[in-house]
């Protein structure tokens, strides 16, 4: 029973944890830029403020798709933490992103369309690597279930180091950080798909970003097996790496991103897969 309580607690608290991570990240980024930065609870202040704003919607389907994006992402996260099938988790995650893309296409704003286009392209950049990662996990642990990974007694990092590097390379795409934040690209398309959301409906998209943090860092944690200390160390390392990369690079365009992630990250993951098969 004890092994059941922690995932459920994590699932319920996921938005709070994600918000805290986001707040911490804003402080870390500000300190890296020699600024003071906002308070730690700033994302929650934003959340509560947005709840009190007037609700303006473009059309009801658009708002509904935004909320469903949040809900389905939470489902994907729940399944990941409860030890579900990794392939299913990845495809649920894909579903939630597709809902956001649909929302982006459903308005008439050109920036929203461009954002949806670019989100679709970034899916193309990171999704193959995630699938190969899932297959590698299967080859090592003998099961697609994440429960098997959580209970695996050796750190997976040592068995599939190249896959971890590949994951590190695609994380900026997923978390929308420079140099691969083409889907959000504030200076080019002012937020892309989220441009037409406002008030409480923007909150859904904003909170979904927090869930994405928890989702990504859980993926990182998978590499530690059942070693909690190593997992925490990996998460901390990834956190600092992502922010340092964000602060030391400009945004590349989507073609360069696609080329880089398919040529480097994908081939690293594939090489790792072959090594796992051979050994």
């Amino acid at each position: 029973m004890k092994g059941f309580i922690i995932p459920v607690l994590l699932i319920i608290l996921a938005p709070f944890i994600g918000g805290l991570v986001h707040g911490l990240e804003r402080i870390v980024r500000a300190r890296m830029q020699r600024r003071i930065g906002p308070p730690l609870l700033q994302p929650f202040y934003d959340f509560l403020k947005l709840a009190g704003k007037r609700k303006m919607i473009v059309h009801s389907a658009h708002a509904f798709l935004g909320i469903m994006h949040f809900v389905s992402l939470w489902f994907a996260l729940a399944l990941l933490l409860l030890g579900g099938d990794l392939i299913l988790v990845i495809f649920l995650h894909l579903l939630s992103t597709s809902l956001l893309i649909l929302a982006g296409y459903s308005t008439r704003s050109i920036f929203s369309h461009l954002g949806a286009n670019r989100t679709a392209i970034s899916i193309l950049a990171y999704e193959p690597v995630l699938i190969i990662l899932a297959v590698s996990f299967y080859l090592v642990t003998g099961s697609f279930e994440t429960a098997a990974v959580f209970n695996y007694d050796k750190p997976l990092l040592l068995e599939m180091p190249l896959a971890f590097v590949a994951l590190l390379l695609i994380l900026p795409v997923k978390l929308k950080k420079s140099p691969f934040d083409v889907a959000e690209a504030h200076q080019e398309i002012t937020g892309g798909t989220e441009i037409e959301f406002s008030g409480i409906f923007y909150e859904a998209v904003y909170t979904a970003k927090w869930l994405d943090y928890v989702f990504c860092y859980t993926l990182v944690y998978l590499f530690a097996g059942n070693n909690i200390l190593l997992g925490a160390a990996l998460i901390l390392f990834t956190f600092i790496y992502v922010n340092a990369l964000d602060n030391s690079s400009a945004r590349v365009n989507y073609k360069q991103m696609l080329r880089f992630s398919l040529a480097v990250a994908f081939s690293l993951a594939f090489l790792n897969l072959i090594l796992n098969i051979v050994i």
């Binding site: 830029q33 200076q187 080019e188 002012t190 690079s249 945004r251 365009n253 360069q256």
Partner: protein, 362 residues
């Protein structure tokens, strides 16, 4: 053939400081043609200068044409008015004008560079450049009394003197700024992702620059050596204080950044030479004459050649004042240089033109 999208950029957009509207026709995010609307900021200053303000007041009004290069505008106007009333500014006033113009150039170029960095998605470099830029704002405040809108140059001379302790402070701050500038050059030159974004983007050839009469760092980056400071005219003795032409060859965003950064070294040298050899004389040449005849003046503002034409009729009011701002000459080339680039680079390209539309439309 893909589907063609029309992407509007402006009049309100986060990557733009001022209202400016571009309409890009794109195919798979590649820009095919561009349409520009640059006259959002037209206020009618030329008319007001000839009907509402006396000719001595106009130097304060033309400073408000543009907040970034207000000293260039008021200096250029002061010079053209001095030509009309047949006086010459004292030598010390000329040196002080050059000092403030160069300080202003440092702040303007650093602002442009930080804006390029932000529009390229490099937030940390934006913050760094803005931090280093603050010193020039503080120095301008110490010399002129205001962070922007200096009202320093008046008809006949300058309004304030340079105190010895302020001069010492400038030299000291320049000493701390120099290693910071080296650091910026290093980042702009060697950062890999920034060069992916900047190299080859928004390029213009030397021939096209000549054909379209481009001025300023935009032209110098393409290899066209045009700089009004290179003239040996007696209006402002640039060559005495160590001016040197900076040019590059490729004409893309990267070259424009490099030209701006290298010009900063020249500006620092000029400021040091001015402070070292500041002549003693009066600050203002007094006269009671009224403007008569017509005159033209050219001056190198941070963005390029500034041109003033004035005509007087022996009264307090001018007959005609024509202002040609640097960006005005560049509009035609700006529209052309987008073609063939990614839409993703467009904000960085716009920032690298360093457009000043309040100058252009007045």
């Amino acid at each position: 053939m893909g589907k063609q999208y029309e992407i509007p950029l402006g009049a309100q957009h986060i990557s733009l400081l001022e209202p400016l509207h571009f309409k890009f026709t794109t195919e798979n995010e590649k820009i095919i043609s561009t349409d520009a609307n640059v006259y959002y900021v037209h206020r009618g200053i030329e008319e007001a200068c000839c009907t509402k303000f006396k000719f001595r007041q106009v130097s304060f009004v033309v400073g408000r044409v543009c907040g970034l290069c207000s000293i260039s505008h008021s200096t250029a106007y002061s010079q053209v008015a001095e030509k009309l009333v047949n006086i010459e500014a004292p030598l010390r006033a000329k040196y002080l004008r050059m000092l403030v113009i160069e300080l202003d150039r440092i702040h303007s170029h650093l602002l442009c560079l930080s804006h390029v960095a932000e529009n390229a998605g490099f937030e940390a470099l934006f913050m760094k450049t803005m931090q280093y830029r603050e010193f020039s704002m503080e120095m301008l405040e110490a010399v002129c009394g205001n962070r922007i809108q200096y009202d320093f140059s008046i008809v006949g001379g300058v309004a304030r003197d340079l105190k010895a302790e302020v001069a010492g402070m400038i030299l000291q701050r320049l000493k701390t700024f120099l290693p910071q500038l080296d650091e910026l050059v290093d980042i702009f030159q060697n950062n890999w992702t920034l060069s992916l974004k900047n190299k080859g983007a928004g390029a213009i050839t030397r021939e096209a620059a000549m054909r379209l009469n481009v001025v300023g760092p935009f032209a110098r980056a393409a290899g066209l050596a045009i700089d009004v400071r290179n003239e040996t005219e007696d209006l402002l003795p640039w060559k005495e204080v160590g001016f040197e032409m900076v040019t590059d060859t490729t004409g893309d965003v990267y070259a424009r950044n490099m030209v701006r950064l290298r010009e900063l070294y020249i500006s620092i040298r000029i400021i040091r030479n001015i402070i070292a050899s500041l002549p003693e004389s009066a600050l203002v040449t007094e006269t009671k004459a009224f403007p008569d005849g017509e005159a033209v003046v050219r001056l190198e503002a941070p963005r390029g050649e500034l041109f003033y034409y004035a005509k007087g009729n022996k009264t307090q009011m001018l007959e005609r004042l024509k202002i040609k701002a640097p960006t005005f000459s560049n509009v035609a080339a700006m529209v052309e240089a987008f073609t063939g680039n990614e839409y993703g680079s467009a904000p960085a390209i716009i920032a690298s033109y360093d457009p000043c539309l309040s100058c252009t439309s007045r």
